[in-house]
């Protein structure tokens, strides 16, 4: 468990900023306490100061996880967002996509969102913009990347992919063993 290096922080923040934009600042600078990011087993955890101190009592090799896992660094030092970060990112999401009830299951199985399953989309979503995927009942389902801008979405045919799947809450079941 160690704090992130500046480079790591930058990479991670760039990724997160794709989804929540300047709201990222709110994650870093929280009024309700000190929260920080810690790297442990290549995974980045978002921890409150209190829990971090508690976790410091546990040896590194025994520590499984602490706080909330936001994602992991790949071997090529890129950051990969995990679904566990959804709880923290969803409230701050700038661009959202709502998917129809029929397409929910498909998305939760790890598939992309087709236009036919697209129920609603935030205007001015640009292409390859990180989006948070919601169900029509406003339950956050996961992350995605807009494959088309909002305008393109209008024109495209119903079978075309509009949101690339990145992470979904189905992973809690599918990747139960790897999620921390």
């Amino acid at each position: 468990m160690r704090p992130l290096t500046e480079e790591e922080t930058r990479v991670m923040f760039e990724k997160i900023a794709k989804y929540i934009g300047e709201n990222l600042q709110l994650l870093v600078d929280r009024p309700d306490g000190t929260y920080c990011f810690r790297l442990h087993n290549d995974r980045v955890y978002y921890v409150s100061e209190k829990i971090m101190k508690l976790a410091a009592n546990i040896s590194g090799d025994k520590l499984v996880s602490l706080g909330t896992c936001f994602g992991k660094f790949t071997k090529t030092h890129k950051f990969r967002l995990h679904i566990t970060a959804l709880d923290y990112l969803a409230p701050y999401a700038k661009y959202k996509v709502w998917i129809k009830p029929g397409a929910e299951q498909s998305f939760l199985y790890g598939n992309h969102v087709l236009k036919s399953g697209l129920g609603r989309i935030t205007e001015n979503t640009s292409q390859y913009q990180g989006v948070v995927v919601y169900s029509m009942a406003d339950i956050p389902l996961g992350f995605g990347v807009a494959a088309k801008s909002t305008q393109d979405c209008r024109k495209v045919d119903p079978m075309a992919i509009v949101v690339f799947h990145q992470a979904d809450i189905g992973e809690y079941v599918r990747h139960e063993e790897t999620l921390t």
Binding site: P3, E6, T9, R10, F13, E14, A17, G21, E22, L24, Q25, V28, D29, T34, C36, F37, T74, T76, K78, R80, K94, Y95, K96, W98, K100, G102, A103, S106, Y109, G110, N111, H112, L114, S116, G117, L118, G119, R120, I121, T122, E123, Y128, D138, V145, A147, R154, K155, V156, D157, P158, M159, A160, I161, F164, Q166, A167, E171, R174, H175, T178
Partner: protein, 1092 residues
């Protein structure tokens, strides 16, 4: 590979299936035929009756239906009409016989050329993009509906593919892959029916992979899942996906038709209805439906996080607040808090609430309806409460509604007096009936129920005061359960009759809760809600409300609950029967309990208030203890507590007991005949147990009292020391024990002190006692880490009084330590803060925005604040920070005011100086007009200046004759001084305008007399321009004439038409100039060179 094998398999299986099915089908057909024939034969008679010919008999295609000319039996036995169509081109009439195949082919299929295209047959519905019009057009946004569409798409695809096969195999592959992907995503089972993939060139291996990748949705997910765990970067993945997508799009773009949007585009600040709902609910304006929804949510996701549940509960609370009085909501708050996690617990608690409301035997009835056997066996009864909760969890919604309904109803609050009255009235009921009824009804039922049965049945008609009866009346309304309802009716009152012991119960509980609970039922309710899980707890908690609200009715339930074990039922009964009577005898004779508790008995006088409390505490203990024990204890408690606090009640109870007892005793033999002996044994055992328990309690009480005397109330102690008294020795022992335990101070000292104290005077003694009390207090200076140090030091010094470690020694240490800790903390905090700053910097760099101000400001301000000097007005040296206050501001204020006034005041102007305006513009214009009109007819006064005044005055006289006499003070308005001033200004402002206006007429057409006028008026300040104006008499025309004086100066500005001289001269001049320039340039160069 896989597909082909699959295809083969499917074919084989299909063949097999065909084989089987054909054989089977043949059989089936034959059977069906037989059946049909049968039915026909049956039907024919009917048909014949109705006058219909049976043509089925000769169902050979082509045969005419007998009796009907143009009807033919067709291939499959149907009757079809023969058509006679008139040919358009030829004159003849075509006969179309549907039974003949050739006719089908030829005759009708002729005029395809003229057929209207399908597009003409269909039409488009006008309309926008709103969902209704979409639906009208047959476009449904539902995701599930598209399979049809998809199929068509696939068909299109296949067709396009077949076309494109020759052209571009790769494209075809892609299109297929896309289709397959879609198919996989939508209908995995459709894979078999997919168009066969054309043979794929080897070069397209990657695409082939894609095909496989996408053929099965599950596989893809798995693959991707693996990917996600692998170290392939998400970016790379994304790039791949994007590339793929773009390829697909390239294809789609050809096929692409802009379809209608099935999705809506929302703004950034979009909030969906769900949120609105929540917010609404937050305001407490929620309707029931939403409430139910929320409940459903709560039920559905049991593991939703606490925040959400809190919200939901808050919503609920609000809703209920709106509905109900505050007490209910409060009560429910407690419930909700308890039952956050599991809904089931919540339900029972709700049930209980209902019970407390005193309307609730409906619930019981329900439980009985659900489980008709529930009322038969007490054991079932005991679980009935729990069963209620379980059985009613599906009906929870109903319960909710019921709750809501019942909350609006009035609550029946029964006081003790009411209960007594009721009990009395109940007991008046004849007792013979009880026996017979009891025997009639199931023997398994509670003895209590038997005894009460009749009173209730008698009562139902009479009064509706009793909650049970109210419930009964309520129950009558939904009278669907013929048999069970009377039972329910019977059940309720049967508890009334049991008032004998029920009262005991009630009184115990009442006594327990006398001081707190009786006043408010809510408290008791809350108590009840506290421990919904524990059946014992329920039993205990249910006590008070029953006592308050409906004790008589519900006590049997307590019994039932007490008899959780089916094996215990009979013994208990017997015990109850038999113990009750002894009880009364015991009470009369004298309390065994009181004898057992001599100390308490003695102290009961002095601590009169205390003992009942203790008793109640004990009650609590007993009740919380196992139900069996509780039942056992009942008699004891009643006997013990009665004499102390309830003398009158005891007497009354005696009478009641005597009344009820016979009934019970009469009944017991009938019900318990068989197990009499066993019951006796059990009873003995129970009695022994009870005795033991009592002994233990007595001991406890002893210790309790002793301890209470020791540390709690030193003033209670007798002032005189009695040597060898038990209490003293006890306290001594206790103190020594404590000393040894605590190890705070050496034992010696205390002993010495004690010895000294013994022989000292009373004053010393008192102080000693105080010391004593002080000695065993927790010393704050020895607490914590610093305290430990101190303690260590103290132990070094020994018992020397001089080196006693006071709290004074503590502070410095603690301060240091605190500082250390603080330093540590601050170091950590600083680290974190630094990290945070770093992170923020990174954020800034990432987002390319500048927001650090707000964040860094806060921290910076906090840091700065330490250095800032705090101004203390009491300190003298801080006077330097004070800004000296002068009287200036005041003065300045006054001054300012004055100044303002001054400024507001208009400057006084001497009336001596003024402009005399003899004319106004109007006159001037008039005159000019006149002049222009006259066209020089009137010879104006150019040369004669003396006439001017007259002339000027004339028009003035015309306009403002009244002012004329007043001399030269001319004004448009009144002759005020102000106006005069204004006039002066106005005159000034007007003048330049006049001049400007005059500029034009100079060149054009205007009379010069105006100039003269102005000259005259501006005698004081004659403008030079005006003066210099040439004044000549000319005949003026609008058009320029030759040698017009107006054009004299203008010759400079234009060139004559035929003058070439100027151009040549210009050239010469330019040449000269150029030469000069060049020369000068050279000179300059020459001059510069030698210098350099």
């Amino acid at each position: 590979m896989w597909r082909s094998s699959h295809g083969k398999m499917s074919k084989e299986t299909y063949r097999k299936f065909l084989h089987i099915s054909t054989s089977g089908l043949a059989q089936e057909r034959e059977e069906a035929k037989a059946k049909k024939e049968k039915s026909r034969t049956g039907n024919t008679s009917l048909l014949e009756k109705m006058g219909v010919v049976d043509f089925h008999v000769k169902a050979v295609p082509g045969t005419e239906v007998p009796g009907h000319k143009n009807w033919v039996v067709s291939k499959f036995g149907r009757v079809l009409p023969v058509l006679h169509l008139k040919n358009q081109h030829k004159r003849n009439i075509i006969k179309y016989d549907p039974s003949k195949y050739c006719h089908n082919l030829k005759k009708i299929g002729e005029d395809f050329t003229n057929a209207t295209p399908i597009s003409n047959l269909t039409w488009e519905l006008e309309g926008g993009n709103d969902p209704m019009s979409k639906k009208r057009r047959g476009e449904f946004s539902d995701f599930h509906s598209p399979p049809k569409k998809m199929i068509t798409v696939r068909k299109d695809e296949s067709s396009t593919a077949s076309l494109a096969v020759r052209l571009r195999p790769s494209r075809v592959m892609e299109s297929l892959s896309s289709t397959q992907q879609q198919a996989a995503q939508k209908t995995p089972c459709d894979l078999i029916t997919l168009p066969k993939s054309p043979q794929v060139p080897d070069s397209e291996s990657q695409k082939l992979k894609h095909v496989f990748f996408q053929t099965s949705g599950l596989e893809t997910t798995r693959n991707r899942n693996n990917l996600s765990d692998d170290d392939i970067d998400s970016e790379d993945e994304l790039r791949l996906m994007i590339a793929r997508e773009e390829k697909e799009r390239a294809i789609w773009s050809s096929v692409n038709k802009s379809e209608d949007d099935h999705f809506e585009v929302v703004r950034d600040d979009f909030k969906s209805d769900v949120h609105k709902l929540h917010s609404l609910s937050g305001l407490g304006i929620k309707n029931n439906v939403s409430c139910l929804d929320s409940e459903d949510v709560l039920r559905n996701d049991s593991d939703c996080d606490s925040g959400d549940t809190d919200e939901i509960i808050a919503m609920k609370k609000n809703v209920r607040k709106v509905k109900n009085s505050t007490e209910f909501s409060q009560m429910e708050k407690s419930i909700h808090k308890k039952s956050l996690k599991n809904r089931k617990n919540h339900e029972p608690s709700d049930d209980r609430i209902k019970v407390h409301k005193g309307k609730t035997n409906i619930e019981l009835a329900i439980s009985q309806e659900v489980k008709p056997l529930g009322c038969k066996s007490p054991s079932d009864f005991s679980s009935s409460e729990n069963a209620d909760s379980i059985s009613e969890s599906p009906e929870s919604e109903d319960d909710e509604e019921y709750n809501a309904m019942m909350r609006n109803c009035a609550r029946v609050n029964l006081t003790l007096g009411d209960l007594e009255q009721l009990a009395g009235s109940d007991l008046e009921a004849p007792k013979e009936d009880t026996e017979s009824d009891g025997q009639e009804t199931t023997t398994k039922c509670d003895r209590a129920s038997k005894s009460c049965r009749t009173p209730c049945s008698l009562h139902t008609g009479r009064q509706c005061i009793h909650p049970g009866e109210i419930v009964a009346s309520l129950l009558k309304e939904d009278n669907t359960h013929g048999k069970q309802k009377p039972k329910a009716n019977n059940l309720k009152p049967k508890f009334q009759a049991f008032k004998g012991i029920g009262c005991l119960y009630g009184k115990e509980s009442v006594k327990k809760s006398m001081k707190e609970i009786v006043a408010s039922n809510n408290n008791t309710k809350d108590q009840n809600c506290l421990k919904p899980e524990d059946p014992g707890g329920i039993f205990m908690e249910l006590g008070p409300p029953y006592a308050n609200g409906s004790s008589g009715e519900l006590t049997p339930f307590q019994h039932a609950k007490a008899a959780n074990d089916p094996t215990h039922i009979q013994p208990q009964k017997s015990q109850d029967h038999k113990v009750v009577s002894p009880n009364s005898s015991e009470e009369r004779s004298g309390n065994p309990v009181s004898s057992l508790l001599p100390l308490t008995g003695k102290k009961s006088l002095s601590l009169g208030a205390k003992t009942p409390k203790i008793g109640s505490e004990e009650d609590c203990c007993h009740r919380t203890a196992k139900t069996g024990e509780g039942s056992r204890k009942r008699p004891d408690l009643s006997s013990r507590t009665a004499p102390e606090t309830w003398p009158e009640a005891a007497s009354r109870r005696d009478t009641q007991g005597s009344k009820t007892d016979p009934a019970l005793s009469v009944k017991s033999p009938s019900s318990v005949n068989a197990k009499d002996k066993h019951a006796e044994d059990n009873q003995k055992r129970l009695a022994a147990l009870a005795a033991r328990q009592q002994a233990r309690e007595a001991q406890k009480q002893l210790v309790h009292d002793a301890l209470a005397n020791v540390d709690g109330h030193p003033e209670d102690k007798p002032t005189h020391i009695i040597f060898g008294s038990d209490s003293d020795s006890e306290t001594e022992e206790a103190s020594t024990q404590e000393q040894s335990h605590l190890g705070m101070e050496p034992v010696k000292e205390s002993v010495g002190r004690a010895s000294g104290k013994l022989f000292d005077s009373s004053d010393d003694e008192e102080s000693g006692s105080e010391d004593d009390s002080n000695r065993f207090r927790i010393k704050p200076q020895f607490e914590g880490r610093a305290g430990q140090k101190l303690m260590h030091l103290q132990s070094h010094f020994g018992t020397d009084d001089r080196f006693r470690m006071d709290s004074r020694f503590l502070e410095s240490d603690s301060e240091e330590e605190q500082e250390e800790i603080n330093e540590k903390k601050t170091a950590e905090e600083e680290e974190l803060a630094a990290e945070k700053l770093k992170a923020l910097n990174v954020v800034q760099s990432v987002l390319h925005i500048n927001f650090s101000n707000s964040v860094s400001k806060g921290s910076g301000a906090a840091k700065k604040f330490k250095d800032i000097i705090r101004y203390d007005p009491t300190r003298h040296d801080h006077a330097t920070y004070e800004r000296k206050r002068d009287d200036k501001p005041k003065e300045s204020k006054a001054k300012r005011k004055k100044k303002r006034e001054e400024t507001e005041k208009l400057p006084e102007v001497s009336k001596e100086m003024y402009y005399n305006i003899a004319t106004d513009l109007k006159d001037i214009f008039q005159t000019t007009k006149d002049a222009s009109a006259k066209e020089d007819a009137v010879p104006w006064n150019e040369d004669c200046g003396g006439e001017k005044p007259e002339e000027v005055h004339d028009p003035a006289a015309l306009t403002t004759g009244a002012e004329q006499p007043g001399g030269f003070t001319f004004s448009f308005f009144d002759a005020d001084s102000k106006d005069v001033k204004e006039e002066t200004y106005s005159v000034e402002t007007l003048k330049p305008g006049k001049i400007a206006w005059q500029g034009a007429p100079r060149f054009q057409d205007s009379s010069s007399e105006e100039d003269n006028v102005t000259e005259e008026t501006d005698e004081t300040k004659p403008s030079p321009g005006e003066v210099s104006l040439p004044e000549k008499e000319t005949t003026r025309f609008f058009f320029f004439s030759k040698n017009d004086e107006r054009l004299h100066g203008s010759a400079l500005f234009w060139r004559g038409v035929g003058s070439n001289i100027s151009s040549s001269s210009w050239e010469a001049r330019t040449n000269n100039l150029r030469m000069d320039c060049q020369k000068k340039h050279k000179d300059a160069k020459r001059r510069v060179k030698p210098k350099s």
